[in-house]
C-alpha cells in the first residue's frame, strides 16, 4: 500500500496527460488544450518537469502513435520522423550512406542510454542553443515539417530557431519530420565540452562551404569561414568566459576547414 508520505513523492508539477493514437488526434488535442506541450523522448522535457522549470498544463505524449518512427530517403536526403530515436539514427545505414554528418553528430549528443529514448525531432523542437542537432540542420540547410489541425507547412532551418529554446513552431503544431540534405561534400562536427556527453562550450558544424556554430549565441548561427567570430557576443559562465568561447570557435573552425 502506498503511504501518504510516498504519495507526495512526485517531482513534476500536475498536468493533464493525453496519449493520442494518431497524428490527427495529437493535432486536435494541441489545438483544443490550454498550454499543451508535446512529450516525445522526454530527455529534455522531463528534467525540466522534475525541476519544475516547466509547468505545462497538459502533456500530449506522442509515443503511442504507430508508424511515426521512420528514417527514410526523401528528395536526395534523409527524413527523420518525430519518434525516431537518436540511437536508431546513429545506427542507421541510410544515414551513414546519405548523411554521415548526422551520424557523426549523434555520437556527441549526451550518452547512448539517453539516445535510446531521445528523438532527433525533439532536440530540434527543444532548440537548446548549445545542442548539436539544430546546428547540423542549419549547416545542411534542411527543414522541418510541422502539422496542425490547420494543415501542414515546411519551416526552413534558417527560419526555425528564433531564440533560446524558442522556435517558429506554433503551440498547436507538431513537428512530424525533419529533413536533412545529403552531406556529400566535406563535412565535420567538432565541439569542446568539459566531459564527453556534456553540452558543448562551443561547437562548429561544417557542411561543404557552410559553417554553423553552436553554444555561442541564443540560437545556432551561420558563420563566415574566413571570420567565424564576427559579430558574436557569447555569454560567459563558470565553465567558459566569452573570450574562451570565441577562441574555441576560431580553433574548431580551423580544424573543421582542414577536414
Amino acid at each position: 500500500m502506498q503511504s501518504r508520505r510516498d504519495a507526495r513523492r512526485v517531482k513534476p508539477p500536475p498536468f493533464g496527460y493525453h496519449a493520442p493514437g494518431s497524428v490527427e488526434e495529437a493535432c486536435a488535442l494541441l489545438a483544443s488544450l490550454d498550454d499543451p506541450k508535446v512529450l516525445a523522448g522526454g530527455q529534455s522535457l522531463v528534467p525540466l518537469l522534475n525541476f519544475r522549470l516547466a509547468r505545462p498544463q497538459h502533456l500530449v505524449d506522442i509515443n503511442r502513435i504507430d508508424g511515426l518512427d521512420r528514417i527514410y530517403e526523401r528528395d536526395g536526403g534523409v527524413a527523420v520522423q518525430a519518434l525516431a530515436r537518436q540511437a536508431a539514427v546513429e545506427d542507421s545505414s541510410l544515414v551513414a550512406r546519405v548523411c554521415p554528418l548526422l551520424g557523426d553528430a549523434m555520437r556527441l549528443v549526451a550518452h547512448r542510454v539517453i539516445r535510446n529514448r531521445g528523438t532527433v525531432c525533439g532536440s530540434l523542437a527543444h532548440a537548446d542553443p548549445a545542442s548539436e542537432l539544430p546546428a547540423v540542420l542549419l549547416a545542411l540547410g534542411g527543414h522541418v515539417v510541422a502539422r496542425s489541425a490547420r494543415g501542414e507547412r515546411t519551416i526552413a532551418s534558417d527560419g526555425l530557431f528564433t531564440g533560446v529554446m524558442e522556435t517558429a513552431l506554433a503551440a498547436d503544431e507538431l513537428l512530424v519530420e525533419a529533413w536533412f540534405p545529403a552531406s556529400t561534400a566535406k563535412y565535420a562536427i567538432l565541439e569542446e565540452s568539459r566531459r564527453h556527453g556534456d553540452f558543448a562550450l562551443a561547437g562548429v558544424v561544417r557542411a561543404g562551404e557552410r559553417l554553423a556554430l553552436f553554444g555561442v549565441a541564443p540560437t545556432p548561427v551561420l558563420a563566415d569561414a574566413s571570420d567565424p567570430t564576427r559579430g558574436l557576443q557569447p555569454s560567459g559562465d563558470l565553465e567558459a568566459t566569452p573570450e574562451f568561447r570565441l577562441h574555441l570557435i576560431r580553433v574548431l573552425t580551423e580544424k573543421a576547414l582542414a577536414a
Binding site: 510516498d6 513523492r9 522526454g42 522534475n50 547512448r112 529514448r117
Partner: protein, 165 residues
C-alpha cells in the same frame, strides 16, 4: 506493465516517474535515484530490453511494455547474472550506489550486441557516474562482462543466465 515478468497495476498518477513507481509503489528499491535529470545513470532500467533512464520516463509510459530492473537479473539464491558476476570478480563497485545503473547499462548493450567493440563497450558506461572507484575497475568489469556473455566464452562463465526468461 510487466516488471521483471510480473504484471503490475497501473500507476495512480500520470506525473509519477517510473523510478518512483518502481521504488515507492512496487518496493523495488534496487533501482537507485541520484540526480533525477538524466545525468548520473543510477536509475537505468531496461524498457523492452533497451537501457533507459527511469527518472526521465513517466510510469504511465511503461504501460504495455516490459520493464526489467536489477532485481530481475538473477533469482534469489541463484547464480549471478554474468554482468553482476563480472562486477563481483573485478571489484567494479565500492559503495554500490551507482552499481545497478552501471550493470543495467552493460546488460542493455550486451543484449543488443553480444560482441561489442571496445569503443561501444566503453561508450555504454560513459553515461554513468561513480564517485568511489575511479572507473578503472568498472571498465575492467564491463570488459569481463562481455567475455562472460560471449557465446564462445560462455563455458568458462557462470551458468544460468536469465536472458529470455
Amino acid at each position: 506493465m510487466k516488471v521483471n515478468g510480473v504484471d503490475r497495476p497501473a500507476p495512480a498518477e500520470p506525473r509519477r516517474l517510473l523510478s518512483d513507481y518502481l521504488r515507492h509503489d512496487l518496493g523495488l528499491t534496487g533501482t537507485h535515484v541520484g540526480c533525477e535529470h538524466g545525468v548520473c545513470g543510477c536509475c537505468t532500467v531496461l524498457l523492452d530490453g533497451v537501457a533507459v533512464r527511469s527518472c526521465l520516463m513517466l510510469a504511465v509510459q511503461g504501460e504495455g511494455h516490459q520493464v526489467t530492473t536489477i532485481e530481475g537479473l538473477a533469482q534469489d539464491g541463484g547464480p549471478l547474472h554474468p554482468v553482476q558476476q563480472a562486477f563481483h570478480e573485478c571489484h567494479g563497485l565500492q559503495c554500490g550506489f551507482c552499481t545497478p545503473g552501471f550493470v543495467m547499462s552493460v546488460v542493455g548493450l550486451l543484449q543488443k550486441n553480444p560482441n561489442p567493440t571496445r569503443e561501444q563497450l566503453e561508450e555504454s558506461i560513459t553515461g554513468n557516474l561513480c564517485r568511489c572507484t575511479g572507473y578503472a575497475s568498472i571498465r575492467r568489469a564491463a570488459h569481463r562482462a562481455a567475455e562472460l556473455s560471449s557465446p564462445l566464452e560462455g563455458k568458462s562463465g557462470p551458468k544460468g543466465r536469465d536472458r529470455g526468461q
